[in-house]
Subunit: 339 residues, 2 copies
Amino acid sequence: MIKIVVDAFGGDNSPIEIVKGAINAINEIDDLHVILAGDEAILNNLLKEYSYNSEQLSILNAPEIITNNEGATEAVKTKKDSSIVKGIVECKENDDIAGFISAGSTGAVLTAGFLKLGRMKGVLRPALCPILPTFKGSSVMICDCGANMDTKPEQLEQFAVMASAYAEVMGVNNPRVALLNVGTEDHKGDIRCKEVFPKLKENKHINFVGNMEARDLLTGDYDVVVSDGFSGNVLLKSTEGSMKTLLTCLKTEIKSGFWSKVGALFMRKTFKKIKDTFDYSKYGGAVLLGCKKLIVKGHGSSNANSITACIKQLYSMHEGKLIEKISSRLEKSGFVVNE
Amino acid sequence: MIKIVVDAFGGDNSPIEIVKGAINAINEIDDLHVILAGDEAILNNLLKEYSYNSEQLSILNAPEIITNNEGATEAVKTKKDSSIVKGIVECKENDDIAGFISAGSTGAVLTAGFLKLGRMKGVLRPALCPILPTFKGSSVMICDCGANMDTKPEQLEQFAVMASAYAEVMGVNNPRVALLNVGTEDHKGDIRCKEVFPKLKENKHINFVGNMEARDLLTGDYDVVVSDGFSGNVLLKSTEGSMKTLLTCLKTEIKSGFWSKVGALFMRKTFKKIKDTFDYSKYGGAVLLGCKKLIVKGHGSSNANSITACIKQLYSMHEGKLIEKISSRLEKSGFVVNE
C-alpha cells in the first residue's frame, strides 16, 4: 500500500473538491492509501456521501488552516495543528508515507517542506518545478519557478540534475535541458548564467542543449528549463498571464457581436481542443524537488480532477523511485550525498 | 526642421520597407527631415519610385551592413562605414539631429549608442524600454528589457525615473510605476528588489505603486514596469512567445476542419480586432533611454508602417523634450547630472 498525505483544507475549492479528488484516486488505484489532513469532524461529515474502500482512506486531524494572506514562516512556526504542518510532519515521521500534496499556500508548503521535512543529503536548496504543456503536445518543466531567490550557480546545476531525473521518471527519454537566458549564444547572460553554463556543459549526467530564450518555452524543443527562482517565476507567470489575457480578450470580443457568436458555435470543438492542449491541471502540480519526501503543490484553483492528477503524479514518482534517482544522480555529478 | 537618421539597412524587410516608411513619414509631417543611412547607389535607385519633397530627405552614404549573426562589440568597432555606426556618429556630431532609428541588430544599436553616442550626464546605464499594448487598450512599458545584465539597485531607480518621464512625454498622466517581482507584498523578491523597493517608495518624482507579478503585465493596471535587464527580457519574450504560440495553435486548429473554417469566416472581424489590440508595431519601437540623443530600436520584422510609427514616435519624443525632462527628473531625484 502506498500512503500519501493530502491537505484537505488548501486551495480555493477545499475541502469539497479535495475530498472528491482523493476518493476518485483511491477508487482508481487499488494499492493507494490517502491520509486526508484537516478538521476531522468536517471531513467525516463530507465522507459520508461517498462509497470507497475504508482501508484506503484515513484522516489526520489537523483543525488549523494556514491561509494565503498570512506570513508563511510565521504561520509554519505557530500553527502546528495546521493541515500543512501536521501533514508534512506526519510524512517525516512515518517511513511508509510517500509524500504530501497541497493546493494551499505555496509559501507555507515550501517553508514546511524545508524546515519540517528537510533536504535530501547533498541538496543545497530544494526547487519548485512545475510542468507546462507545449504546442507540440509534449510538456516542459521550469526548475526553479520561485522557491529560491538569489540562486547560486552550483544550485542551478543541482536543479538541472534533479529536474532531469524527474523528467525521466515521468517518461521523458534523455530529457533536453536548457538554461533560461536572454539569447541562445553560449556567452550570453548575466554573471550567474555565464558561471553555470560551463558547469552544465561539462556535466555528463544531463543532456544539456544550451541556452533558451523565453519566447521558445512552448515550442516543444526543450524538456527541462533551468532557471533562478526569480526569472523562472517571471517566465511561468507571464506565460500563464498572457495566454489568459488573450483568451479573455477573445471571449469578450465573441460575446460582443451576433456573427462572432454564430462563428464561435461552429468553432466549439476548436476552442475545446485548444483549451485541452493548454490545460495545466492534467499534469498534476509543481513538485518540490530535493526534500526527503515527495511534495506536490497543486494550483490554488485545483478542482477534484486536478487533485486526482496530483495524487497520480506523486504515486508515479514514488513508483519510479524519484528520490533514489535524484540521490544517485547528484552523487554521480560530484555533489557529496553521503556526508 | 526636425532631423532624424534612419538606418535603411536594418531589419528583415530592409531596405525597401524602411525607405517606404520614411517616405510616408515625410509626406505626413512637414517639418521633418529624414536622413537615410545606407548604400547611396541602392538608395538613390529605390527613391526614384517615390514622389516627395526633396528638401525633407537626404542620404548618408554608409555602404557596410552589420548583421544579427556577428558579435555586436566587434562589429561596432570595425565597421565604421556601417549604417548603424555611421548613423549614430552623425547624430552625435550634429546638434540639429534629434536621433536615430534602426530595425537592425539590437546588440549593435545598444553598443554604438553606448560607445559612440554616449550617456547623458548622470546616467549610470542606458536602458531599453519597449511599449506593449494592454488588454484595456492602454499601453505598458518595460524598462529595462535587456540592455543591462546584473543591474544594480541605483540603476533600477534611474530606469524608473527615465521611463516615467518617457511615459509622460507619450501622454500618460502621472504614470503608475511598478517593480517586477515574484509577489505583490512589499518584502518580496531577491536582494536587488529588496534594496530598490524603499528607494522607489521614497522617490517623490515618480508614482510608485508597488510590486507587480509577471501575470499582471497586460491588465492595464500599470504604465511602467521597472526590471533588471535579464527578467525584463524574460517578461517581454515570454509574453510575445506565448501569445504567438496560442495564435498559431488557433490558426492550425481552424485550418484542420471544415466547420471551424466556416466559424472563422463569421469571426473575421473579431480576430482582426484582437490582432489590432495586440499589434505592437503601432506603438513604434523600443527606446534606448539615457543616451545623449534619442535612439529607437524597431522590431526586426518591421514593415513600412512600423518604421513610420518609429519615426513619429521619435518626432514626438523630441517635441516633448524628453532628453531635457529626463535630465531634470534625474537631478531632482538626487542623481548628479552636472558633473
